[in-house]
Amino acid sequence: MDIISSALHDAFSPFALSFVLAAIGLNVHFGYTGLLNFGQAAFCAVGAYAMGVSVASFDLPLIVGIFFGLVASALLALVLGVPTLRLRADYLAIATIAAAEIARLVFSTSFKEYFNARDGVSGFTRGFRDINPLPDFNGQFLTFSRNDWWVMTVGWVLVALTCIFLWLLMRSPWGRVLRSIREDEEAVRSLGKNVYSYKMQALVLGGVIGAFGGFIGGLGLASVQPDSFNTDFTFIAFTMLILGGAARILGPVVGAVLFWGVLSGVGSTLARLSSGDNPIIPPDLMGSDQVSNVRFMLAGLALMLLMIYRPQGIFGDRKEIALDAR
């Protein structure tokens, strides 16, 4: 029973929410437009830090901090896009993966009076917690605190609104241009569309959605730390996107929930099996201290099996994938 509840806890937690939004942003980049952004962590980090520093160091209201976070992530998209989006797709991938590492290192080593190195930024959540309308209860309700519930409410409403917005966008001629760019830029250009401008719009949109992921993650943990935004962050978000199905509105949402749920469920199952005086899994094979690593190994295995037997993800259209083989 506690295996299921811990799985559900992790699947819907504020932590998972930040990945949901990051993966939705990646879906705009990679799923719809075919942009290889390997630095989604940078967009989340820049958004979260801009919000956190504005509030914690400059005593600005939270809403202003959020505004600065959105502006910062949009600017990052412009800085990355201007030199690379006219070039082949690989260049954006290289630039973004480098940008993500640069951002993380800057946040963890420079401007310490603002970023506090590895400790990160904290003390920016008061404005958010003050407007929590939920009834006051002591302790926890369904394994979440009152603050968690507030973050989750806002976060999941945000996810729903983002999904509706993207659904409206992607069924429009604008979305059709993006999907066409994913397939063949030159064909789109030959029909009089400014491909560069569309790619830039997609990069900014996905980056801004990623910044929202940074906000929710920061508000959930009550701090913003550089190490939460390492390269793993981006690759886990990619895994979720592919698991759920790229270029499907709900793909990244379901993928993220499922990923954390299963990962946590497997982890606590393994922990149960390998602990105690007489563990079911022999200690020589796997000790209880190795659980957190082994579950990521199993996640990798599961991802490989998924790629082999269901490459389109959960929501994807098999017919679309089959066209690639022609």
Partner: protein
């Protein structure tokens, strides 16, 4: 964002009652052909000849890749309202010239204009919006979009293609419906109307060529540039493609096409421009080109004008691959660089 909703004033097949099956492949082309021939009657058959009503004028367009000069065109004019063929051996620079004219590649030097507007350093999408639309040698249909979506993508000036208008369907729904009607008319004309809901990736090679041509017409072009429209197309479809190209001229469009199939060139073109090693080496009516010594040396080969009998035609179709101009290369090797 491409929200400028300026409709192209080009005469189009959809504007009048000429839509529907009237513009099928077998439409009589004598009027268009005769008018075109009359317009070009006074033009001398020499490289760089001035035309009475040029739609494209190119001057000193040069492009080299490393040490190789791919294109070096001194002066060339394309007459409005006629079908002009661009021929030449492989590697003559025909496709590179196409790419330069349409902004898909940048020349080292030179200037060229379309309808009097200089296109030097113009981005390819702006060239297309001016009404100069191209297709590709290797067909570029968007395989994961349906045939109808491919067509709709071609329409210009779509309000729904602007980011801010896109979520609000009432702003673009009406225009989308109009575009859909026009797309369906064109699909019917190109005999693709039954395929509307299929993914474009499921079409055969010939059908893709048709779709690409139909999609280019959605842009309402004045000049249609076809890069090897007949490559890899079976003989039956070739006939209908020929008809479609002729019907573009009937509808008032100008056509410039690259082709290796000399039967097609002779059949439908009003004017032929021959390129070799990046330069325009000859220009003229199809008949004068076929008789031109330089062209025979550079491209056609000595026995090019011997009529092929029906039987030879059949053998040719069975045995020879595409891109072979006369189809009798077995006993008559052409002088082409490979």
């Amino acid at each position: 964002m491409p929200a400028d909703a300026t409709p192209n004033p080009t005469p189009t097949p959809e504007a009048g009652p000429t839509t529907g099956p009237t513009t099928g492949p077998t439409t009589g082309t004598t009027t268009g052909h005769a008018a075109a021939a009359a317009a070009l009657a006074q033009v001398p058959s020499e490289p760089g000849a001035a035309k009475p009503d040029p739609i494209v004028i190119a001057d000193n367009v040069k492009r080299s890749f490393g040490g190789l000069t791919a294109v070096d065109v001194e002066h060339v004019e394309i007459q409005r309202g006629v079908i002009t063929a661009l021929i030449g051996p492989n590697g003559a620079g025909k496709t590179t010239f196409f790419n330069l004219l349409t902004g898909f590649d940048q020349p080292d030097s030179g200037d060229w204009s379309f309808n009097g507007t200089s296109l030097r350093k113009k981005a390819s999408h702006k060239v297309a919006r001016l009404g100069m639309v191209r297709t590709f040698q290797l067909t570029k249909v968007l395989s994961k979009l349906t045939v109808l979506e491919n067509m709709r993508l071609g329409a210009t000036g779509q309000r729904g293609e602007s980011f801010w208008a896109a979520p609000l369907k009432f702003l673009w729904g009406g225009q989308e419906d109009e575009n859909t009607v026009r797309a369906r008319e064109l699909l019917a004309r190109f005999k693709l109307d039954g395929k509307e809901k299929d993914f474009a990736g499921s079409l055969s090679g010939g059908q893709r060529k048709l779709l690409e041509m139909a999609r280019a017409l959605m842009v309402r072009p004045e000049l249609v540039m076809l890069d090897e429209p007949m490559a890899g197309v079976n003989p039956a479809l070739k006939q209908s493609l020929l008809g479609h190209v002729k019907s573009l001229r009937e509808d008032g469009m100008t056509v410039l096409f690259v082709e290796h199939d000399m039967d097609m060139v002779r059949d439908i073109s009003d004017w032929v421009i021959v390129m070799a090693q990046g330069k325009v080496i000859a220009e003229g009516t199809p008949d004068s080109i076929m008789a031109d010594e330089r062209v025979i040396d550079a491209y056609l080969g000595a026995h090019h004008d011997v009529d092929i009998t029906e039987m030879e035609r059949e053998i040719e179709q069975e045995h020879l691959e595409y891109g072979d101009p006369m189809g009798d290369s077995a006993h008559q090797p052409r002088e082409e660089e490979k």
